[in-house]
């Protein structure tokens, strides 16, 4: 079970509280997790990655296990603790402003 922590704006949009938990076929990657997330919550389409190119939006970041996964290719397998559910995958709105 993959655990995902969404930023508050997207939790409100998707009308979820707390973490989202998704069952994803191995190997779990950013692409497969986001596909599953958008399939369950279609309203999130376009908010994390572009509708057409499916590229990550510029001010969205992916963190897990104290690592920034934002620049990893989307088909890179996620870290083991994320795959087992020991650690969540964080979807984060990047810092902006001063």
């Amino acid at each position: 079970m993959i655990r995902i922590v969404l930023p508050v704006q997207l939790r409100r949009l998707a009308e979820v509280e707390g973490e989202v938990q998704l069952q994803v076929e191995p190997p779990a990657t950013l692409r497969s997790v986001l596909n599953a997330l958008e399939a369950r919550y279609p309203v999130l389409c376009g908010t994390i990655r572009d509708h057409v190119t499916l590229r990550r939006r510029p001010f969205v970041r992916f963190f897990a296990c104290e690592q920034d996964l934002s620049h990893e290719p989307p088909d890179t397998p996620l870290p083991g603790p994320v795959v087992t559910g020991a650690e969540p995958l964080l979807v984060v709105g990047a810092m902006a402003g001063g």
Binding site: P7, Q9, V43, H51
Partner: protein
């Protein structure tokens, strides 16, 4: 008794303000979509409880929300705004050509006849249309053939911010685009022509009366006389008496002819409103006095309307979509400021009162008159 509903978009959410026909006491609901920029909220003229809202974020992109109960509840609808075909390029600040790139929806204009049909004005400038209540959107791409490659973003972005539907000619639509100008279609969006003859921009453009490139801030018309248009340009207040074929200046005795919104009185087609702003670099009122100016002669002769508005130390701006009128008698006039105030006048602008003083910066105000 009639009711007035104001739809207020702000930098951090949407608010719905309602009052009875006296327009003295207001109920406030919101923020809806807290934390998101709400560029615009507007209701269908044929089904007033059907509202559409543009919800956007620099982080999370564009959403479109729809309400069927006057803003009490909302549902996200389609937000896939894809330019048709290969969108080509437009001029960039450094003179190079840059591909069109969708950023946000600035303005939503519901159809005059069909509550499921809505036009949406986008940045980078384009016009989209839905005919299924917002589920899907298609671009009216002929607009970009009107010399789109010569359009260039201004400091505020290359947004299509004004959409006027001509009630007497269903195929006629006017749009205005920052740093591009006014464009008109007479065939429901198939073909478009620039409508900028008479505009002069000597301080912004190397050729002051070029066909496209003028920074039009807002245009307005009265539904009973749609051939007459009023414009607040970057500098200059302008008027057209031939559906945009040509324009002439009507700034007259205004203390500054820079500004953003312009509106027309609901019952008097020659009574118009602007909010003068000191200059393009000083986006606050002249003399730090917030004054709406009203012309009852369709321009040139203006009177200051200051009663109830701050007359010292006022440094707010009023953005292009942040002024509206209701259709009661006397006509109500409303505007919101970048300082978060929403002011109301129940007597056509003679006197003003703040409805709220501490909203986030106001991006848009629309007024609905309900039976």
């Amino acid at each position: 008794m009639s009711e007035v509903r104001l739809l207020v978009g702000t930098r951090k959410g949407a608010f719905v303000l309602t009052s009875d026909g006296k327009r003295q006491r207001w109920d406030i609901s919101g923020p809806h979509f807290a934390g998101w920029e709400i560029y615009h909220v507007k209701g269908s003229p044929v089904e007033p409880n059907r509202l559409y809202a543009s919800q956007s974020s620099g982080w999370f992109g564009q959403k479109i929300q729809r309400s069927s109960d006057g803003g009490q509840t909302w549902e996200a609808v389609g937000d896939k705004f894809v330019y048709e075909g290969s969108p080509g390029t437009h001029q960039w600040y450094d003179g190079t050509q840059r591909p069109w790139e969708f950023k946000r929806i600035w303005h939503l204009e519901p159809s005059l006849a069909d509550p499921d049909a809505v036009y949406a004005g986008a940045e980078d400038a384009a016009l989209f249309r839905t005919t299924d209540g917002g589920r899907t959107w298609e671009e009216l791409s002929g607009l970009r053939n009107a010399k789109g490659r010569l359009w260039s973003p201004g400091a505020g972005g290359m947004g299509l911010h004004t959409i006027l539907l001509d009630p007497s000619r269903p195929g006629r639509i006017f749009v205005a685009i920052s740093a591009a100008g006014v464009f008109r279609t007479d065939d429901s969006g198939g073909t478009w022509r620039p409508m900028n003859r008479g505009l002069k921009s000597p301080y912004e453009l190397p050729d002051p009366d070029v066909e496209v490139g003028h920074c039009v801030h807002r245009i307005a018309l009265h539904p009973s006389r749609p051939g007459v248009l009023f414009m607040q340009k970057h500098w200059d207040v302008m008027r057209s008496d031939n559906a945009g074929e040509s324009w002439h200046e009507v700034s007259g005795n205004l203390p500054s002819d820079f500004g953003f919104p312009t509106e027309v009185h609901a019952h008097e087609p020659d009574t118009i409103y602007v909010v003068p702003i000191k200059s393009d670099s000083e986006h606050f009122p002249p003399e730090a006095k917030l004054r709406v100016y009203r012309s009852r002669t369709g321009g040139n002769e203006w009177e200051a309307l200051a009663k109830g508005l701050p007359q010292s130390d006022c440094y707010v701006n009023v953005l292009r979509d942040a002024m509206a009128v209701d259709s009661l008698d006397p006509c109500g006039v409303y505007f919101g400021t970048t300082g978060g105030q929403v002011y109301a006048s129940a007597d056509a602008g003679d006197a003003w009162k703040p409805i709220v003083r501490d909203f986030p910066a106001v991006l848009s105000v629309e007024a609905q008159t309900l039976p």
